[in-house]
C-alpha cells in the first residue's frame, strides 16, 4: 500500500481527527473573519450602486454566497453520507451530521435575505416560484436529515437512515440550479457562471470574498461540531476520558 493511502486511513479515525480538527478550526475562523471583512468592505463601500435596483442590491453579497453554500454543503453532506454507507465509516457519518445544521442555517439565510431583496424589487416577500420553492424544499431536506439522524436510539441506525435521505435529496440540487432555465421564474438567472459574469468587477470580488468567508466559516463550524459529536459518541473510550481530565 502507498504511504498516502495509509495517511487517509489514519485521519479517518475519530481519535486522530479530533486533534486534527481542533488544531485547524481556529485558522478557518480567522480566514473567514479576514475574507468576510474584505467582502463586506468591497460590497458595502467600494462596489457602485446598481443603476436599476439602487442600494438594496447589496443584499446579494450575503444572499448569493449563502445560496451557494446551502447547495454546496448539501452536496458535501451527501458525499459523507455515501462514504459512511459504502465503507461503514463512523467519521463520515459524523461529518455529515456536523455539516447539516450549518447547511440549514445558510439555506435559511438565503431564503430570508432573498425575501428582503424581493420585497422592494418584485413587490413581494414570497412567491411560489420554482427557484424559491426548490430552495425551501432544500431547507426541509436539511430538517429531515437532522430529525432522522436523531430519531433512533442507536446512532448508527440514524446515520444510515439520514445518509439515505441525503442521497435521495441530491436530486433537488440540479432542480434548484436549473430551475431558472427550466421554468419561467420570477427569480433572475445566474449573473455568475463558469463562462464569466455580467457584473461589475468590484461587485464580483465582493461576492467571491463573502463566498470564501462562508466556506471557511462552514469548515470551521463543521470541525468544531464534529469534535463535540466525537466526544458524545466516544465518551466511554479511554482517550476521551483522558481528554476530559485535561480540560476543554
Amino acid at each position: 500500500m502507498k504511504p498516502n493511502a495509509i495517511n487517509w486511513f489514519y485521519f479517518a479515525s475519530p481519535a486522530t481527527f479530533y486533534g486534527f480538527a481542533g488544531r485547524l478550526a481556529p485558522w478557518f475562523f480567522v480566514l473567514a473573519a479576514i475574507s468576510g471583512a474584505a467582502g463586506l468592505y468591497l460590497g458595502l463601500f467600494v462596489a457602485p450602486t446598481d443603476a436599476q435596483q439602487g442600494e438594496v442590491y447589496r443584499v446579494i453579497f450575503i444572499h448569493v454566497p449563502a445560496a451557494w453554500m446551502s447547495m454546496f454543503l448539501y452536496f458535501i453532506m451527501a458525499c459523507y453520507g455515501a462514504l459512511s454507507l459504502t465503507f461503514n465509516s463512523r467519521l463520515g457519518a459524523m461529518m455529515a451530521r456536523a455539516l447539516a445544521p450549518t447547511g440549514a442555517m445558510f439555506t435559511f439565510v438565503a431564503l430570508w435575505t432573498g425575501s428582503f431583496w424581493g420585497r422592494p424589487t418584485w413587490g413581494t416577500y414570497w412567491v411560489w416560484d420554482a427557484r424559491l420553492t426548490s430552495e425551501l424544499v432544500l431547507l426541509f431536506l436539511y430538517f429531515g436529515f437532522i430529525a432522522l439522524a436523531n430519531a433512533f436510539e442507536d446512532p448508527r441506525r440514524g446515520d444510515r437512515a439520514a445518509a439515505l435521505l441525503a442521497l435521495i435529496g441530491l436530486v433537488n440540487l440540479p432542480i434548484i440550479y436549473f430551475s431558472v432555465l427550466w421554468w419561467n421564474t420570477l427569480h433572475q438567472g445566474s449573473s455568475v457562471n463558469f463562462r464569466g459574469t455580467s457584473m461589475h468587477v468590484t461587485m464580483l470580488w465582493g461576492m467571491l470574498a463573502m463566498a470564501f468567508s462562508f466556506w471557511m466559516y462552514s469548515i470551521g463550524t463543521a470541525f468544531t461540531r464534529v469534535r463535540a459529536i466525537i466526544l458524545e459518541r466516544e465518551r466511554r473510550t479511554h482517550w476521551v476520558r483522558g481528554l476530559a481530565g485535561a480540560g476543554p
Binding site: M105, Y217, R227, E232, L243, A244
Partner: protein, 46 residues
C-alpha cells in the same frame, strides 16, 4: 419602507444566525465535556 430597512434586516439576521450557531456550538461542546466528566466520576465512585 427605505432600502436601508431591507439591508439591515438581511445583514442583521445573518449576523444573528452566525452568532447563534457559534454560541450553540460552544454550549454543545461544553455539555459533551461535562457529560464525559460526570460519567468518569460515576465510574470512579463505583
Amino acid at each position: 419602507m427605505t432600502h436601508e430597512f431591507y439591508l439591515w434586516m438581511s445583514y442583521g439576521a445573518t449576523a444573528i444566525a452566525l452568532a447563534a450557531e457559534i454560541i450553540l456550538l460552544r454550549r454543545r461542546r461544553a455539555q459533551a465535556l461535562r457529560r464525559v466528566e460526570e460519567e468518569k466520576d460515576l465510574e470512579a465512585q463505583d
